[in-house]
């Protein structure tokens, strides 16, 4: 039997991209109405659950802790994670966190992870679907002094180290790192499960710990608008694209397409 694992999965509560998303208010931050667990973080959670299950799951002492930082609604991302099978949930929330950029977010998340004691793995999504920067995993790894393995499309753990595969444009890589490490996973790694009825019932009994900045020893001026190293000075909504000419093929649409390209000087 393998050693048990204590895995922290970072789950973000993001605006649902199916609806129009808006930037507004102080610092042009995203509106968080209609928010959901970032679908890219479901792959991270699934990866963690598979690693834990392969070692006998929670009964054998494996822990999968879903950690989300965000305003009150972000607790829903934690709840969904518990329904999918995370063993514990942690919600880091504090008014002073509003407006945190990647540097401030990684600082707060690093402090929260340290607060959770020794962990073997931190697994994140490949990018948040709102910020889309993919900065947090690398910044977190740097702050925790850990190796990072980003954009993993496969992940195995054995004997205190991990092996992962990464696909770059011109090559595919196999990488190895000692634990603990920070890993971000792509949507190629697995097929996330849906919470089933049993999971939903079980989640009701699982506890969600709420942490404030004071709990993790971070002062308010290190995070949020004050502690961020970047600022958004202006944001302008692009006029939405409008539909152009639509034609129905009557046997010559390919030629009409070329006429259009020629008229646009695109040939």
């Amino acid at each position: 039997m393998e050693d048990t694992l204590k895995i922290v999965v970072l789950v973000k509560h993001v605006p649902d991209a199916q609806f129009d998303r808006h930037l507004n208010g102080e610092g042009n931050t995203t509106d968080r109405d209609e928010s959901i667990l970032s679908e890219l973080d479901e792959y991270a959670l699934e990866a963690a659950l598979q690693l834990a299950e392969a070692r006998g799951g929670s009964k054998a002492g494996n822990q999968v802790i879903a950690l989300s930082m965000g305003p009150s609604g972000a607790v829903n991302a934690v709840k969904k994670s518990l329904q999918m099978g995370a063993t514990e949930g942690v919600h880091l929330t504090d008014d002073a966190l509003a407006g945190s950029d990647a540097a401030a977010t990684s600082l707060a998340l690093a402090a929260a992870i340290r607060h959770l004691g020794q962990v073997d793995l931190v697994i994140t999504g490949m990018a948040s679907t709102d910020g889309e920067t993919s900065l947090v995993p690398a910044q977190l790894a740097e702050r925790l002094g850990l190796p990072q393995v980003t954009f993993a499309s496969s992940l195995e753990v054995a004997g205190g180290s991990l092996t992962a595969r990464r696909d770059a444009d011109t090559s595919s890589e196999t990488v190895e790192a000692p634990l603990p490490a920070v890993v971000s996973v792509t949507d190629q790694i697995n097929e996330p499960r849906y919470p089933n009825f049993k999971g939903i019932i079980a989640a009701k009994r699982k506890s969600i710990a709420t942490l404030s900045l004071a709990d993790i020893g971070v002062s308010p001026d290190q995070v949020g608008f004050a502690g961020s190293w970047t600022t958004v000075t202006s944001a302008e909504e692009r006029p939405p694209r409008t539909a152009g000419t639509i034609i129905t093929d009557e046997g010559d649409a390919g030629i009409k397409l070329v006429d259009f390209l020629a008229a646009q000087k695109l040939l």
Binding site: L23, A127, S134, T150, G244, I246, L257
Partner: protein
């Protein structure tokens, strides 16, 4: 004058266009120095001089390529301190962004990714939320780290070539916690333009029904790169590298031709900032038509080959 550090990773035999763009941008912001990892050929050294590099910094260690990101960030941090750079520029590749991320923590510097232009005062412009907003951002820190998207600067050599001094920066990969790359498989080159910075992209989706031939034929007639929806790459009809969208590549070509793709939000996220969008789809209700400048309700297997033949005919 402000010092600007440009990172060029493994330049190979000749500098890529995107590297020349970084060097040109750097000159507009101050005095450029260049940190180069990997082999530095005479030809590349000559281009660095031609583009006005005041200094070329090289790592003392040769094995940075054996590790993921962290040692490169350590090298670049040392190079930034050595040159007193106020701005560090990197390319916007996934690895470029990650090096930038770790570097920024080491330098206590704000980092801005996906930048398309930079003002003289360091304000960076980028679009967010899948291209639906354009924003201006600025680092509040003494040093800013920016990753620059390709194709937004016209490369231009310096008025006068420089004679850069070479500086060796002490770095030891072994002392930095990092994942080690144990195997690397080179992928075969397609011979087509690179998807991320191609001027024209022809992309196919589930509607191609297992046959990307018509997409490739049209792409080749136009000298275009080939893209795909996730449905097509998941089905294994074409390599995952071709995927355009939220979890694939973001492209902004002059022309994007979408064939047999419905236009889901995750697909649009990767292509809706294209200058001109053409869509071919047999379903008039497909959301892709909401963003198409020219839409054809028709069968990809009829329209694409006909268009390819017509282009070849006109080009003679």
């Amino acid at each position: 004058m402000a010092k600007v550090l440009v990172f060029i990773d493994n330049p190979g035999a000749a500098l890529k266009k995107s590297s020349l763009e970084l060097l040109t941008l750097a000159r507009s912001l101050g005095e450029p120095a260049v940190a180069v990892n990997g082999e530095l050929t005479d030809a590349v050294a000559a281009s660095l001089a031609e583009y006005g590099a005041a200094a070329v910094l090289r790592p003392s260690a040769q094995d940075l390529n054996d590790f993921l990101v962290a040692p490169k960030a350590a090298f670049l941090a040392a190079a930034a301190e050595n040159t007193g750079a106020g701005v560090v520029l990197l390319d916007n590749s996934p690895e470029g962004k990650e090096i930038a991320a770790r570097l920024a923590i080491r330098l206590n510097a704000g980092v801005i990714t996906d930048v398309v232009s930079v003002d003289a005062d360091g304000t960076a412009h980028k679009s967010v939320l899948a291209g639906s907003y354009t924003t201006a951002c600025k680092a509040k820190t003494p040093v800013s780290v920016l990753t620059i998207k390709a194709n937004n600067v016209v490369p231009e050599p310096a008025a006068a070539a420089s004679a850069p001094e070479t500086v060796t920066v002490e770095v030891s990969a072994g002392t930095v916690p990092a994942a080690r790359i144990t195997a690397r498989e080179q992928k075969a080159a397609s011979g087509r333009p690179d998807l991320t910075d191609a001027r024209v992209v022809v992309a196919g989706g589930r509607g191609m029904d297992g046959d990307f031939g018509p997409v490739e034929e049209l792409a080749d007639a136009l000298g275009a790169a080939v893209g795909a929806s996730r449905a097509a790459t998941d089905a294994g009809w074409i390599s995952h590298d071709a995927q355009v969208g939220q979890t694939g590549k973001t492209v902004s070509p002059q022309l994007y031709i979408s064939a047999g793709i419905s236009g889901a939000i995750q697909q649009k996220a990767g292509m809706q900032t294209s200058k001109v969008i053409v869509a071919v789809n047999k379903d008039a209700e497909s959301p892709v038509f909401e963003i198409a400048d020219f839409g054809i309700i028709g069968d990809v297997f009829e329209v694409l080959p006909q268009a390819a033949a017509e282009i070849r005919k006109r080009k003679g």
